[in-house]
């Protein structure tokens, strides 16, 4: 298990959304039965992350990418599978046992308007994590750390006593990044950190994230739906569809030769600035609901290369060499090259 910072094995996360007892009651063939409604957000996902790399998780809304990240950080208790941080198993730990790992794993959220407490000044926001995790630090040391981090993320330290509403979206996102960096983490999960920002500000924040990675040797898990951003910043990419992994490959490899039919369709849909009217792969139908997952391969109903086996059997994520993993019967059987 060397050289793996994070190792996830067969992670499962389901949400029971059936509500109260009365809401679960339904009439079937003249009988009242109790039915549960379960959203199967993440199903049997395995992955590992090397120290110092950026793994991007891509997929469309509802594919389970955010749930995966939150389960990994212990924000949701997983329903199955194992999570390792270096060699320690961290799923199922108590709050108290989890504390040392929380300082090493931090998260940056999408909406900097919602993720900062509006009633806390920048100073309070930034010192809270470090005072919590290092209670022995003196007041002046904490202040010094806050000022140092603010300088690093490009927010003027003289604004420490301001409140979040006094900052623009880009500045707020810098403050959320500063908050994540305060406790000197090794691993940062960034959940759509630039989707709420304008293009010119987006570039500023991406540069900041890349600089921080270089200076501190950070490992990132980057969750986004923006494939051009993914291509720019990540070392490996994992494509998810309906709670399952379709493909996991080194970035250049994935963009040059996508293998899984869903990855092909997804990449073809990116509008290209310089290629007007390029052709994209039209998928038939729509994404099924994660409440009622299709049997077999989750993508088979929309796949142009589907056969009878796809509707029956869930494809395994197979290693294809060169670090490329694909879950597709058509590729395994050689029907799709």
């Amino acid at each position: 298990m060397k050289n793996r910072l994070i190792d996830i094995k067969n992670l499962v996360k389901h949400f029971d959304i059936s509500g109260g007892l009365l809401e679960q009651m339904a009439l079937r063939n003249g009988r009242i039965v109790r039915e549960r409604t379960v959203v199967k957000a993440v199903n049997d996902v395995s992955l590992f992350i090397h120290p110092g790399e950026t793994l991007s998780v891509v997929g469309e809304s509802g594919c389970g990418k955010s749930t995966l990240a939150r389960a990994l950080l212990g924000l949701y208790p997983p329903d199955g599978g194992e999570i390792y941080y270096r060699d320690d198993r961290i799923d199922g730990l108590t709050q108290q046992q989890m504390l040392p790992y929380r300082a090493k794993m931090q998260m940056i959220f999408q909406d900097p308007y919602a993720s900062l407490n509006p009633r806390m000044t920048v100073q309070q926001t930034l010192e809270e994590p470090i005072v919590f995790h290092n209670p022995s630090l003196s007041g002046s040391e904490v202040k010094e750390r806050v000022a140092g981090i603010m300088k690093q993320v490009g927010v003027d330290p003289k604004w420490v006593d301001r409140y979040p509403h006094e900052f623009s979206g880009g500045q707020r996102q810098r403050i959320s990044i500063a908050r994540a960096l305060m406790v000197d983490p090794e691993f940062v999960v960034a959940d759509e950190p630039v989707s709420a920002l304008d293009v010119s500000v987006q570039a500023q924040i991406l540069n900041l994230l890349m600089d921080a990675q270089e200076q501190r040797g950070l490992t990132y898990m980057f969750i986004t739906h923006d494939l051009s951003v993914v291509r720019h910043i990540s070392s490996r990419v994992m494509v998810m569809y309906l709670g399952r992994v379709c493909e996991l490959a080194p970035t250049a490899n994935l963009f040059e030769s996508p293998r899984h039919p869903y990855t092909r369709a997804l990449l073809s849909a990116i509008p290209d600035l310089y290629d007007h009217r390029h052709k994209y792969i039209k998928l038939k139908g729509e994404v099924p609901t994660p409440i009622d997952l299709p049997p077999g391969c989750v993508f088979h109903g929309r796949c142009p290369h589907t056969n009878e086996r796809c509707s029956r059997e869930i494809p395994a994520l197979n290693h294809q060499g060169q670090g490329v993993y694909v879950a597709c019967h058509a590729i395994e059987e050689g029907r799709l090259k």
């Binding site: 010119s200 739906h225 910043i233 007007h276 994404v287």
Partner: protein, 333 residues
């Protein structure tokens, strides 16, 4: 030939207690029949306000304080509410970002479509339903007869936006204004919706103003692009000219800031700072505090949008003016 739409020196202000704020400051452009224009800019550039101003839908405390919007030989800024009702939703339709907000959740799709038709023409419910079915087929909604009787929540996001497009096209408008129509949608659905919009505009000869922050999306759909910054158009021209050879430093910065896959892992070109708020737009050229090539004149005078010698695009930039004079002098020698 007359233009389908001619926006001239349009000015929109918002009257606040602290005084009037200028949201749109002298925007001019034209659109011919069947032509497609992309209005591009970041949040706060005034692109949506421009869209609303065209159909005279600026709500209080905002008002159109100057300029004209000539559509079909009529100045829309001077029409009465009654006269405007004949144009809005009839000759000019608008498509918004979030289809769930546009559709009425308690009425079936059929009722909403029939209502729209009956508001603009004397038509029986039965005939109106016939037209509605035809339009739903045009936007590729499967089994439209069944779908007419369903409510918006029974559709997925992509389907809802298709229905909104079908409603916008019910009256065969000459112009459709689409304000960020795919921003709330996933990338595969975005590709489908943009493809559909393009297909319909081409087959029906409908003019389109596509308002978006996404240059890549615009480059797929429109023939012309106007780039807005702080309430003004800073560069306008043919799509391929703007994309391949941007002239204004802001347009150049916007395009360079996009990760294009050529140098993964390297620092992106960033434009320093942020778009100014309407409350304190810098004097002179509004872009000068963020500009890499600014000169003294940029702090004092606001540059006009004009043609630059040797190029096809219109640009508002003093520094290009200076470069042009230099080039002119060289030619004269």
């Amino acid at each position: 030939m007359n233009h389908l739409l001619e926006v001239k020196d349009l000015e929109v202000k918002f009257g606040l207690r602290m005084g009037d704020l200028t949201a749109i400051n002298g925007v001019s452009f034209t659109l011919d029949r069947g032509e497609r224009l992309g209005l591009v800019g970041e949040s706060g550039a005034g692109k949506s306000v421009t869209g609303f101003a065209i159909i005279n839908l600026i709500s209080k405390p905002g008002y159109i304080s100057g300029g004209s919007v000539i559509f079909d030989n009529r100045d829309l800024t001077r029409l009465t509410d009654e006269g405007m009702r004949h144009i809005r939703g009839n000759l000019i339709s608008m498509i918004f970002q979030d289809p769930m907000m546009t559709l009425n959740p308690v009425l079936t799709i059929g009722t909403q479509m029939v209502e729209t038709l009956q508001a603009h023409m004397d038509i029986s419910r039965k005939n109106a339903e016939g037209i509605a079915l035809k339009k739903l087929r045009k936007v590729h909604i499967p089994s439209p007869e069944k779908r007419l009787k369903q409510y918006p929540h029974e559709f997925s996001g992509g389907m809802r936006q298709r229905i909104v497009i079908a409603i916008a096209l019910l009256t065969d408008p000459a112009l459709v204004i689409a304000d960020e129509p795919t921003t709330a949608l996933d990338v595969t659905i975005q590709a489908e919706i943009m493809d559909l919009l393009l297909e319909l505009c081409e087959s029906e000869g409908t003019g389109l103003i596509l308002i978006t922050h996404d240059l890549a999306v615009v480059s797929q759909v429109t023939q012309k692009i106007a780039v807005m910054y702080a309430g003004k158009i800073v560069e306008a021209g043919q799509t391929e000219d703007i994309i391949d050879n941007p002239l204004h430093p802001y347009t150049q910065g916007l395009i360079k800031a996009l990760p294009d896959g050529s140098n993964p892992g390297t620092r992106l070109n960033q434009i320093p700072g942020v778009m100014p708020s309407l409350i304190d737009i810098p004097p002179g050229c509004a872009f000068h505090p963020r500009c890499m090539i600014r000169g003294d004149i940029c702090r004092r005078e606001s540059p006009a949008l004009r043609e630059i010698y040797g190029y096809r695009s219109m640009v508002a930039c003093h520094m290009l003016d200076a470069a042009e004079k230099q080039a002119g002098a060289n030619v004269a020698k």
